[in-house]
Amino acid sequence: MNDSSSWACPVKHAAEPQRVSLAHGEGGSSMRRLLEEHILPRFDRLSSLPLDDAAVLPQIDGRPVLTTDAFVVSPLFFPGGDIGTLSVYGTVNDLAVRGAEPLWLTLSLILEEGFSLQLLDRVLESVAEAARRCRVSVVAGDTKVVPRGAVDRLFVSTTGLGRLIEPGPSGSATIEVGDVLLVSGPIGRHGIAILAAREEMAFEPPPESDCGPLIEAVAALRTAGVRVRAMRDATRGGVTAVMHEWARDCGGTLVIEEERVPISSDVRGVCELLGLDPLNVANEGTMVVAVHPDDAESARSALQCVSVCARAARIGFVRARGLLPVVVKRGIGSERPLLEPSGAPLPRIC
């Protein structure tokens, strides 16, 4: 009597590989399976298109706006987000603060040999979810695998394409004396969340990143008819770096009033402990806005109507250029220079 089970090879099939191997980047069947099983199903647009070398996109109504960014964050997962959400929101926000409606994204992955496929799935889920939230489609992508040690587990690069909604911000060169500076929420949350997670600091609860989209906040300003001179998401270098760029562009002196700057108590605590200035710490879902003085109040109220911007605040103003490009008013009212950050802020000894 034939028993088909007795024909089975006595050697068990090797378990499905759970880690990225160099073969996944070599263009053969392993790569096809990686794409078909892990990447394409998560992105409607990609899975519905033939895998051509380039995506042909519909015509858009307006001027195209293009941006690109690379994400190399460590750790990959942190309170409030991960490299996946970061790579979508970072690029989407760059389009949004330039006055564009984000439409499409490309996604480029550089994977380290040995990276866990399960973690890759989690990152891809985050990318997909963040893209859905921002109503953008991932329309093209690329995957490379490099030998162990050549990258730190996973690097992600995204390019974003959107359409400008006229009139966009008039630009930082148009910032004038008397203009008002605002932030959309408490500053420094991303930088402190990453620092605390990377260094395994036992803060309870752990500080959370502000990693999130600014599309709604920008739309609220647009709807309120605010004359926006410039908007920037205050990423690396924090608010200080943006202030210095704008001061260079407009030729005025930007004055920050320290007491008005919203800071969450956990960020303030960590900064006090380590001797860091929250103004220099990175954000991922918080922007700085320069507006015409007559629109300052409507800008603040419009932002505060957006849930993530409930603590939006006026933080300063622009005056004629003095000796310094950026100053901060502190405590007893004395003005001090706010220097451009140089390199990463380092915690002090004591």
Binding site: I332, S334, R336, P347
Partner: protein, 375 residues
């Protein structure tokens, strides 16, 4: 934020500053010992607000600034040995040795890592038995107890791949050296609150009595600093010299006895060369003989530390001893800037030169003087 906001209240600070301005009959000269206090005084503009009443001169109390270039060279030398990982605090990474900093050595391939505590370095050693983990221990009495605790913990847990490159310094010998110097102008001290948290304010009694100098222990917030200055002024105006604790929410008379015991168990006082200030008798700490197995220099290297010649363009020694203000150095703000420091006080955020660079308005900077040779 409890314990912060009430000591940053602009109204309270301003009224204290006004009372100091009213109280003085002459312009007194007070030295704040600690770099953190220099930072606070300049950040909040207290030095300017009191310019007519008190001259604030900045002491040597930034441990990063006074760590010798030769010790940094030794740390780099250790980090360049295969499988030796040198760990240290963040602001130590950018301080230049005689040729380069730990950060630039790391970029060139040396194994260097920033930690937030010496105990993190012990944990790294435990996690990486294939490495020899060295903690480059810098700091005043404030950080010495944690270093002592780290070596005690390493011994208790049998972690043998952990050792220390010790560059700890003691603050009182430096204060005494300043008072002994023939050109000394210091009439009163603001003593460093963090150091006193460990050593207590009683430990200053002898210095206060022998040199007849008021010593007021104070904190770092604007109201703390104004309170400390007011107390110094009051003593000077009434010809008194006492140790006064104006940071009693943190500092006890006897300090932290447990922390002191850790330090006593592991370290002993030794002579140490301070950057910019030269030889400082009993100005440092070293491992006691019974702990020398944990001495990284003994474990990995041999020979005395090389002599390092300071840059003749850097007058950091005069800055650290309060003889000049940073802007009086010809290199300040031009050739010497935080991104290209000639001396350590420009590197560390707590250094007097960096604090002046960061907080002083350029129009208030003194006219540079001619360079006067070797510091």
């Amino acid at each position: 934020m409890k314990y912060l906001d009430e000591f940053r209240h602009p109204g309270a600070t301003e009224s204290l500053l006004e009372s100091i301005r009213r109280r003085v009959t002459k312009r007194w000269t007070i030295m704040e010992v600690c770099g953190g206090q220099t930072h606070g005084l300049l950040r909040y503009g207290i030095d300017e607000a009191l310019a007519d009443a008190v001259e604030l001169i900045h002491g040597p109390g930034c441990p990063v600034c006074v760590t010798g270039a030769e010790v940094i060279d030794r740390a780099i030398e250790l980090a360049s040995i295969p499988n030796v990982l040198v760990t240290t605090f963040g602001d130590m990474l950018r301080v230049p040795g005689s040729r380069e900093s730990l950060a630039s050595a790391r970029a060139a391939g040396a194994l260097v890592r920033m930690v937030y505590s010496p105990l993190d370095a012990v944990a790294l050693a435990e996690k990486h038995p294939e490495l020899e983990v060295v903690f480059f221990a810098v700091g005043f009495e404030t950080t010495a107890p944690a270093t002592a605790l780290a070596v005690l913990q390493a011994k208790r847990r049998g972690i043998e791949n952990f050792s220390l490159l010790v560059a700890h310094v003691r603050v009182q010998p430096a204060m005494e050296a300043i008072l002994c110097a023939p050109e000394n102008r210091v009439q009163a001290f603001l003593a460093a609150g963090h150091v006193c948290t460990v050593v207590g304010c009683e430990s200053y009694e002898d210095l206060c009595r022998r040199y007849e100098v008021p010593i007021v222990v104070t904190g770092f917030e604007p109201t703390d600093l104004a309170t400390g200055i007011a107390a110094c002024v009051e003593q000077l105006e009434t010809s008194r010299h006492e140790v006064e604790n104006r940071y009693d929410r943190v500092v006890q008379a006897e300090g932290n006895l447990r922390a002191r015991q850790f330090v006593e168990d592991v370290f002993e006082a030794c002579d140490r060369t301070w950057r910019g200030l030269g030889a400082m008798p009993l100005g440092g700490l070293r491992l006691r003989e019974s702990w020398r197995d944990y001495d990284a220099e003994r474990r990995f290297t041999a020979g005395a530390l090389p002599q390092v010649v300071s840059s003749c363009r850097c007058r950091s020694g005069e800055v650290l001893s309060g003889r000049i203000k940073p802007p009086e150095c010809a290199a300040f703000g031009g050739e010497c800037r935080p991104e290209h420091p000639l001396g350590a006080p420009m590197v560390s955020g707590e250094g007097a030169c960096a604090a002046y660079f960061q907080y002083h308005r350029p129009e208030l900077r003194c006219e540079p003087r001619a360079v006067e040779g070797n510091a």
